[in-house]
């Protein structure tokens, strides 16, 4: 959005206005309190409505999750897990709203080879710019949470924008607005961390001794955070990556050492070519080359006749 300043963008050193850091006082976050979520899917519905997306009507495959995975039209999804808690011997129905985590250190942005196709605003929102997207799918590989989806029709990548269009005019995301139990809150990251502490205290008093905040440091923290009753076991929430989640080493390597090594190789090739030209000179076409070429061409014309 024009009103938001860009902190970083893909395949570009620095942002459009130079390399701005995320602004502490301005960083936004969405807090998803899994312990308050009733899995009503109002967030999913609001997401489709606000973003004017139309998902296809699927089938039931024996679970409540519909659609069955994130798609280019479904940017958020309730994932339901029936979990027998081995410590209490009681069943828990864990319902997690899946979607982009808006990492402070976004793997998608790092992996993206197209300049400006992925941007991060100074408020922390990570956004895809479809005009610049080349549909290569590197962002999918780069994301440690397996979020972006490529549309076969448009050959572009899609994911949650954290309702950047709403946020930029001072509103909260559509999903937070629609949530009937205030399981989804939106504010500054500092506010959301405070709120999380209040919720964790309540959960601890109810016997959830490992209640905690999911804000994994391996990706620099996230701008979508979870309050989990079992923060020591994020994996039980429909395979949410562990607290030690990191960007894939391949991406780090590709965009780190490998990138510079690759650039070095390209530079070497260019230099070598120039040196070769200087020493050997340009290639010349000899009479023999011309004859051979003519023969080949004639043969092809005969064949096609």
């Amino acid at each position: 959005m024009a009103t938001l300043e860009i902190a970083r963008q893909s395949a570009t050193r620095g942002g459009i206005t130079g390399a701005l850091p995320l602004k502490d006082t301005f960083e936004v976050a969405k807090l998803i309190d899994v312990s308050k979520c009733i899995g009503c899917k109002a967030c999913q519905t609001a997401c489709l409505e606000w973003n004017d997306l139309r998902e296809t009507v699927g089938v039931n495959v024996g679970v409540y999750d519909n659609p069955h995975d994130l798609t280019e039209n479904s940017w958020t999804l309730m994932r339901y897990t029936e979990w027998d808690n081995p410590e209490t011997g009681r069943l828990e129905w864990l319902i997690r709203k899946d979607g982009c985590m808006h990492c402070a250190d976004p793997g998608c942005l790092k992996a993206c080879p197209s300049p400006g196709a992925i941007v991060q605003y100074t408020n922390g929102i990570v956004d895809f710019q479809k005009d610049a997207c080349i549909g290569c799918g590197y962002c999918v590989k780069g994301c440690p949470f397996n979020i972006p989806r490529i549309s076969k029709a448009t050959e572009k990548a899609y994911k949650c924008t954290l309702c950047v269009d709403r946020v930029s005019v001072g509103q909260g995301p559509a999903c937070a607005k629609a949530c009937p139990t205030q399981a989804i809150s939106f504010g500054t990251k500092a506010q959301m961390k405070d709120l999380a502490q209040k919720r964790i205290k309540d959960l601890t008093s109810r016997g959830y001794k490992n209640a905690g905040l999911y804000d994994p440091p391996g990706v620099g923290g996230t701008h979508v955070m979870y309050v989990l009753h079992h923060a020591d076991k994020p994996q039980v929430y429909a395979s949410l990556p562990g607290n030690d989640v990191k960007i894939s080493p391949v991406v780090e390597l590709w965009k780190g050492v490998t990138k510079y090594a690759g650039m070095g190789l390209i530079a070497f090739a260019a230099v070598a070519g120039a040196v070769h030209h200087l020493i050997v000179g340009a290639n010349r076409v000899t009479e023999h080359d011309e004859q051979e070429g003519k023969k080949t061409l004639d043969g092809k014309i005969k064949e096609s006749a």
Binding site: I38, V61, N66, E82, W93
Partner: protein, 815 residues
Amino acid sequence: MTNSWQDIKNTDLVLIMGGNAAEAHPCGFKWVTEAKANRGAKLIVVDPRYTRSASVADYYAPIRQGTDIAFLLGVINYLIKNDKVQWEYTKNYTNAAFIVKEGFGYSDGLFSGYDESKRDYDRSSWDYEYDEQGFAKVDTTLENPRCVWNLLKAHVAQYTPEMVERICGTPKDAFLKVAQMISETSAPDKVMTSMYALGWTQHSKGSQNIRCMAMLQLILGNMGMMGGGMNALRGHSNIQGLTDLGLMSNLIPGYLTLPNERESDIDTYMKTRGFKELRPNQVSFWRNYRKFFVSFQKAMWGDNARADNQWGYDFLPKMDVPSYDVLRAFEMMHQGKMNGYFCQGFNPLMSFPNKNKIKAALGKLKFLVVMDPLKTETARFWENHGEFNQSDPAKVQTEVFELPTTCFAEDEGSLTNSSRWLQWHWAGADAPGQAKTDVWIMSQLYKRLKALYEKEGGAYPDAIKALTWNYKDPNEPSPEELAREFNGYVVADVPDPADPSKMLLTKGKQMVAFAALRDDGTTACGNWIYCGSFTEAGNMMARRDNKDPSGLGVHQNWAFAWPANRRILYNRASADVSGKAWDPKRSPIAWDGTKWSGPDIPDIAPTAKPETVMPFIMTNEGVGRLFVHKLMKDGPFPVHYEPFESPVPNLVASKVRGNPAARVFKGDMEQFGDAKEFPFAATTYRLTEHFHYWSKHNAVNAVMQPELFVEISEQLAELRGIKKGDWVRVDSNRGYIKAKAVVTKRIKPLICDGKPVHVVGIPIHWGFMGATKKGFGANVLSPFVGDANIETPEFKAFLVDIKPTTPPTDAPATS
């Protein structure tokens, strides 16, 4: 609701039983999360399934569907045995001390006076002992063996924790945990709220399910309290308005009742509606019945309702049966005794039990009129949709008229929500195509019927011809005009008897409150409980002031709550006998030395002295009823009766099938299945993703839950060789459906009397119209029997079998 949605935030303990608020009322459920997050309130869920509500509960206990009364009587037994009773409340504010007359008795599941051939009781023995002045005798020491308290104690004694486990399949430790948590709210300053819905009403003993909980709440002293009460979560946005306005075959607005055929004149009619006080100095508010009734007649027939024609009493239909409820209507249709049917905002083919019977009945009609904003299955009952709706249209002779109507977002008016709030709304969009408002359609019907009666006469044209119809546009009365009429207005000047130069009531003015309604024809009021909603000060329903000075969720100037803008019913009971609040921090009203004051409107005369008038002014005892004298058809106390189709025998009433006082039509009894052929206990319910049979027409909702499924336990899946996502066929003795299988840990076999009972959960919502995948209606399976008192069908408990199958086949597409 006795309380309001907002008031749930004031509670200490939420009991969700007989409902699934997170699933079916997600927006209202926010007040549960408020109470939990801000007050540290606890949430208990008791349900056959581990539901969405259970997913955020502090404690979940399983229960077999249709055994709630055994569970709740078990809790009452626990409270009595462990002395967890709010004694001052129970002694003063309930009929615990009332003495029941000799001759009343109970044994083997039946009360005195049962007549098996009629499936009904002679209720004369279900009454108190009276003194010479006609007042009920009491024993405040509670020593008399025939006082209500001792009869109740004896009645519940057999519902021990062991018996609860045997009947309900609730493990004893789980039951005891729940009972213990509930019992803590017997402290005067602790409250529990009961949130229930169709999980209690849709049983052959639905009324008694709710009554049983009301008794429990009285014993705990939780009625009238902020954060307490009996909170019915209504299933449609305006279903509260439907009952308030008397859209039942035997009611007129404001819960007044239609006369029966033996009540040939108004004085006879009033004889059983006198509601004389049963205790000295008490207020029996229904003594004003005649004022409400005459004012209603004036609203309907204006100048044609006069003293000399008994206020138009003859214009009213007289009932020859207790009610023409929907089950009776379709039974008559099925027998060919009803040949025309108007379906207004109603999709009975999908939403009534035994779909095959409903379909056959519709096929016997001469004409069917469907008024609806959507393309309903009912209007297309004759179409062939293969296995989803098998039909040979050429053989159906019913003529079907479909009149498209506006939907709620396309017209103006008020909706009454569960909190009893009348909230005005405005049209958000124009109606598409030829859609018309229901009011326009009804007005055209009226005009044409009246013209026909005037031209051709008829058996009794008077009632229609005499109807008052003073609207600016007789073709379409405006919502405001109708609302003003419901509120009521002054028909003729009433001088002040103290000072005849002044007027008590001035002709043409809107009524201010129902207390001023009169039975002399000087006032008109369409619905006495809505009086005060549209006064000279304007439309109270359109108020949108969300200020809440007390911080207790009263919101006195937001919309209008009936009655009298009161937000908590029976709020006098929130204070002790001397008028002091049981809990000053959460006090709706208290006695300030001269009057009742507080954030809410007192549910008692503002200057009624404490210690004299007791809080329950809508009963003629003045107190809450633990024992109901004569009013309930199936007993003064609740009894555990099995559903008509039960997987197990009744352990407390072995000779009784179902509710012994429930009406069963001939032919339907034969269609009940038994556990040998249909071994599994089925129940039906709603899902958050859909609203009844409406939202399947919406693409986004269809995405959220696209296809019909049934839910079964891992154990039942194993037993029947069913895997997750397989097609299964579910059979009852009335038909079959095919659906996808959701195999879940959230349903577990219940061990009842040592044997496993498998539960099959069947969501409603699917049909052969709309944006979802085509699906069978769950009500192909459900039995055609209703609650003994109000005939709500038994959708929640019946028997089925289940096995793997092949996908359903649709009819070949026609082009």
